[in-house]
């Protein structure tokens, strides 16, 4: 008597109509094949249980829209020439993606040690919108010569934020206690090398001190406009985060990427997506307008910058974003149904967009054209 092969017995379980009737009769009459059949069936049953999934259905319409968007983005990406890194006045123009736009600004706020917040010319308020503030090269040079905020008061760290690398978005969501949004479309050449970092909430306090400011000016032999009485002794409490930064293709975003000179060395697209609770500053006395007016009138502050800052209609809800006007441009756009600030560099190598929605600040930036960045930003879910 010829015994049955395992493969035939296995198929008898799944597709009996394709197996001869004689096979089943054999199993019923042959002890050896019967035992073998029961063993195979038990393995099949165990696998069936293990691989059973919940019956949640796929949203086919959304999946098709995503695929169609992906094809559109891919078509744009295929046509977009990767710009060479060119020499400008003897200096390499670095990719702006590592410098400009929302994700870097937000990541910079998120991961800058609190002590260095004293270096910022402007502190953070409670931004609901962002405006571009154009800076010339001379403006940037002038600002670099100004004293930091630490000359005008005392900074204290209240809560030190932690910078944590995690394995995936679920871990990031759990540690940050944020409902994170991820892109549903992605250009095909964005590396799948994904890194997740979480910054936990941090807080600091800064107290203005008129006496300290006057002493600092005297020691540094610089002109100084006296601090108003209502500012002296005011304490600002600054709360940052939590925030999460997701990077795709860190190598493409590294600072030394600007050292590459030829198209053969061109890097794949890199992308940064940052999201965090909107920063908040509270004050025990002076208003935002008081602070801005005092800082803007200090000798050495570029007049053009001061005018732009003073022209902001509601500085308590508007965060100015410095844009080097000889290397980048900015425009207001719509993302996720709200106003957003888009920034693109003149080499068309990097661009970014930032916006605030429902108390969260988002930023997307990358080494790709602005239309791709906007598509990715709009796709966050």
């Amino acid at each position: 008597m010829k015994h049955l092969e395992d493969g035939l017995m296995r198929r008898l379980i799944d597709e009996p109509e394709d197996v001869a009737v004689t096979a089943r009769r054999h199993i019923e009459s042959c002890a050896l094949c019967g035992d073998r059949y029961r063993s195979i069936a038990a393995n099949a049953h165990a696998a069936g249980v293990a691989f059973a999934l919940d019956a949640a259905d796929v949203d086919l319409a959304m999946a098709w829209r995503r695929a169609a968007q992906q094809r559109a983005v891919s078509a744009v990406a295929a046509k977009t020439a990767r710009a060479s890194f060119v020499n400008v006045n003897g200096a390499l123009v670095k990719p702006l993606a590592a410098l400009a736009a929302a994700a870097i600004v937000l990541a910079g706020f998120a991961f800058t040690p609190l002590g260095s917040m004293a270096q910022s010319f402007l502190t953070i308020f409670e931004p609901r919108q962002f405006v571009a503030v154009g800076l010339t090269r001379q403006d940037m040079k002038d600002l670099g010569g100004l004293e930091g905020l630490q000359s005008y008061g005392t900074m204290r760290e209240l809560v030190r934020p932690q910078n944590i690398a995690v394995a995936d978005v679920r871990s990031a969501a759990r540690i940050s206690r944020m409902e994170l949004r991820v892109p549903t479309i992605m250009p095909v050449d964005v590396p799948r090398d994904i890194r997740y970092r979480v910054m936990t909430q941090g807080a600091a306090a800064f107290t203005f001190g008129a006496a300290k400011a006057a002493r600092a000016a005297a020691q540094q032999h610089r002109a100084y406009r006296a601090m108003p009485a209502r500012l002296d002794g005011t304490t600002l409490q600054i709360v940052l985060g939590p925030a999460t930064v997701i990077t795709f293709g860190e190598r493409a975003l590294s600072k030394d990427a600007g050292q590459r000179r030829s198209d053969e060395d061109a890097l794949p697209a890199g992308l940064v997506i940052a999201q965090g609770v909107a920063p908040r500053v509270t004050s025990t006395g002076a208003t935002v307008q008081d602070i801005v007016a005092f800082l803007a009138e200090q000798p050495g502050v570029p007049a053009g910058l001061a005018r732009q800052i003073e022209a902001i209609r509601d500085p308590s809800t508007t965060l100015p974003i410095p844009i080097p006007i000889d290397r980048a441009s900015a425009m207001q756009v719509q993302v996720q149904g709200v106003n957003a600030l888009a920034i693109g560099d003149n080499t068309r190598v990097g661009s970014g967009v930032m916006w605030q929605k429902s108390g969260m600040v988002y930023g997307v930036a990358g080494t790709m054209p602005l239309n791709e960045i906007l598509a990715i930003a709009d796709s966050l879910r």
Binding site: D6, V58, V188
Partner: protein, 180 residues
């Protein structure tokens, strides 16, 4: 659902435009199902499915792809994604214990213990699958992703009569891994 492939059916030839959409709508769920048997994660499985269809769209002008190609690509892409995840997890710091409720599309799970148990079972299945040879893992994902024997044979490039043998061996090996 797509019609069953007969053994003698000619490979599907795509023409630009509507054909791709028809194929997508007919096969997307099955492709997601195959990936999900390997990855256990719906979102990642849909990412794999999107990648596979994007690759199919790029290839159609150059060759004669078929549904069998689609199924095989789903299994291989998901296996690659699973291996990449394990490599990354070994490199990066581990996160907190997975005891928090998982956020689903309908909100937080009502029973955290049940959610944790489900996750642990799914993780055990994924880990056991990862220890199998790629072909064995692929045959399990294809069969339990809903493919008939003829479709599994087409995807793996084997005779349909071999599928039962491959499947029986893969299930025996899988059950042994699950029992470790």
């Amino acid at each position: 659902m797509a019609a069953l492939m007969k053994k003698t059916e000619a490979p599907l030839v795509l023409t630009p435009g509507d054909d791709f959409e028809r194929l997508f709508l007919a096969e997307y769920r099955k492709v997601v199902g195959i990936a999900q048997r390997i990855l256990g994660d719906r979102q990642r499985s849909e990412d794999v499915a999107q990648d596979v269809f994007a690759a199919l769209h790029r290839r159609h002008a150059a060759g004669r792809p078929s549904s069998a190609w689609l199924y095989a690509a789903a299994a291989h892409t998901a296996l690659n994604a699973a291996r990449a995840t394990r490599r990354r997890q070994r490199r990066e710091a581990s996160d907190a214990r997975a005891t928090s409720p998982l956020r689903t599309g309908s909100g937080l799970a009502a029973d955290p213990h049940s959610v944790v148990e489900q996750k642990e079972r799914r993780d055990a299945v994924r880990a056991a699958l990862a220890r199998l040879p790629p072909k064995a893992a692929a045959v399990l994902a294809l069969r339990y992703g809903g493919l008939r024997y003829a479709e599994v044979a087409g995807a793996l490039g084997v005779a349909v009569g071999q599928v039962g043998t491959l499947l029986a061996r893969a299930e025996a090996a899988f059950r042994k891994e699950m029992g470790r």
